[in-house]
């Protein structure tokens, strides 16, 4: 099912069409061009994606030969990196800020985008993502007898003892975000060839940008405010009103999207009750 088949998401096309339908000849924004409206709407979707209705995408990426993972085209910020086990659960990798990613100068910088002429429209399209919830390829360490949870270097009464239990910070591997080369450096078992990235995606660059219905009105207010903002013919009080309306709608959208229900509160409280015997 496409995302826009549901009622909870509204496509950019619908938002723009609704905005234009309600636009009248004596509106301050009546002479805005189609392209300006779309550009501002996309900027609004991008803006909302940062802190109102973040789109967290989960994407499988292959680990490259140099233990790196290229960041996706619509990457904004990282949430977690991990590997999927047979249990269907994501086992998160830990962050290690000391993984080396140094470079050496080998060749002059490549041509910039602008030097190459007009943008290749086909190349600019970000491919659709498809579901792939199977475990990541490559086997994990055999944990059948929980060997790797066991520390065996414990001397006890002249012999090698064993200490049971998971040590603190024991993880499946480590990563470091390399923003200089726009990739992730991975340090993990050699037989793991794929990782799962969960990241904040730039919704504005998706093939069919959508916005949650809670934030739809806020987006329309954003479009209006941004269209008015720099127009010399719009009175200052109208600009102020548009700005205030946008922030009010944004506040409402944020409150609706980030609501905390009674069930969630109860679930959190009940987690702390244990049925273990007390001594």
């Amino acid at each position: 099912m496409a995302l826009d088949d549901g009622q909870n998401f509204v496509t950019l096309r619908q938002v723009i069409d609704d905005f234009m339908v309600t636009m009248d000849s004596d509106d301050y924004t009546s002479n805005a061009s189609d392209i300006a409206i779309r550009n501002i709407a996309l900027r609004g979707i991008r803006e909302f994606g940062f802190d109102v209705s973040s789109r967290i995408r989960s994407l499988k990426r292959t680990i490259g030969s140099n233990n790196t993972v290229t960041l996706p085209d619509d990457y904004v910020d990282l949430v977690k990196v991990g590997v999927v086990g047979d249990d269907g659960v994501l086992h998160v990798l830990g962050q290690n800020k000391n993984i080396n990613y140094s470079q050496k100068i080998s060749a002059p910088a490549a041509d910039t985008d602008s030097a190459g002429g007009p943008l290749n429209i086909d190349a600019n399209v970000i491919d659709n993502r498809e579901d792939d919830k199977g475990s990541t390829t490559g086997s994990e360490a055999d944990s059948g007898d929980l060997d790797y949870y066991v520390f065996q270097n414990y001397l006890y009464q002249g012999g090698m003892g064993r200490m049971y239990g998971v040590g603190g910070g024991h993880l499946r591997g480590y990563y470091r975000l390399n923003l200089d080369q726009n990739r992730i450096e991975i340090d993990t078992e050699s037989n793991i060839s794929e990782v799962v990235l969960e990241y904040v995606a730039d919704e504005a660059r998706s093939t069919n940008p959508v916005i949650h219905v809670y934030a739809e009105e806020a987006l329309r207010c954003f479009i209006y405010y941004k269209l008015c903002e720099r127009k010399s013919t719009v009175p200052a009080n109208e600009k102020m009103r548009a700005r205030a309306e946008y922030y009010n709608e944004r506040r409402k959208a944020k409150a609706r999207l980030g609501n905390f229900t009674k069930e969630e509160a109860l679930k959190t409280i009940r987690k702390n009750f244990k049925q273990s015997p007390k001594y």
Partner: protein, 254 residues
């Protein structure tokens, strides 16, 4: 539709009021086409006035709105045509539809563009009139055209659609005013003209030839404007201040 016979008769009678002049069908036909074009152009100007009325709160509401009335009059001229990339529809308009571009020219009766849609879909095509911005839009990774958001660049007398693999477009536009026959049918290649029947021995008797004469392609209530426009020009032609002033006054009053 405005009857060319009625307009001709009113104009002839007004010109003859002081026995200062007479308008022949040939002169009338020359002026009629220009008069019709002027009125069509003024409709767009009237939209501005209607908007000003609305902004000042003096516009009648809903069905009495001046803006709505002009829109209603202009709707007579709205036309939709389809052009597909393969050139099977309106082939004559297609300039280029190879793998790299989809370019087509304006129809002959094109006046003002209203909108464009991808053929057989509800996807609107965004129009760019500003050629300087076009390059920037094509270079922008945010605003670059996509299949869901195609753009059409308007330059000289052609439109170029991006992305070039758009199958075809349906274009809606205001056409230029032409002529109507006596059954109100649109005559796409003709202009209003008054043709009298040939009556041997009675040269001054002008009876309209309903088969050859063509009516104005304007709503009925514009008859006064048509008469005024023609009179303005005849006033200049005859150097008759009274006629010219009357024409100007009537046009201003409208």
């Amino acid at each position: 539709m405005i009857s060319v016979q009625r307009v001709y008769e009113v104009v002839r009678d007004l010109c003859n009021k002081d026995q200062q002049g007479f308008i022949s069908p040939n002169v009338f036909n020359t002026l009629a086409r220009v008069a019709q074009q002027n009125i069509f152009n003024e409709m767009f100007t009237e939209l501005k006035l209607a908007t000003a009325l609305r902004a000042s709160g003096r516009d009648g509401g809903r069905d009495k709105s001046a803006y709505k009335m002009v829109e209603e009059d202009l709707s007579t001229f709205i036309r939709t045509i389809n052009i597909n990339e393969g050139g099977t529809i309106n082939e004559d308009l297609l300039v280029n539809s190879d793998e790299d571009s989809f370019v087509f020219r304006r129809p002959a009766d094109f006046a003002r563009l209203i909108s464009m849609n991808v053929l057989d879909s509800n996807t609107s095509v965004e129009i760019i009139h500003d050629n300087e911005k076009a390059t920037r839009v094509l270079n922008s990774n945010l605003s670059a055209p996509t299949i869901d958001f195609p753009i059409a660049l308007e330059m000289t007398d052609v439109f170029q659609v991006f992305p070039d693999d758009t199958d075809g477009v349906s274009m809606r536009y205001y056409r230029q005013p032409r002529a109507r026959n006596f059954n109100s049918g649109l005559l796409e290649d003709s202009f209003p003209q008054f043709i009298p029947l040939q009556t041997p021995g009675a040269d001054n008797l002008l009876i309209v030839d309903t088969f050859q004469s063509m009516n104005f392609d304007l709503p009925e209530h514009y008859i006064n404007e048509v008469v005024s426009e023609v009179l303005k020009m005849i006033g200049v032609r005859l150097r008759d201040n009274a006629l010219a002033t009357y024409g100007v006054q009537q046009t201003t009053a409208e």
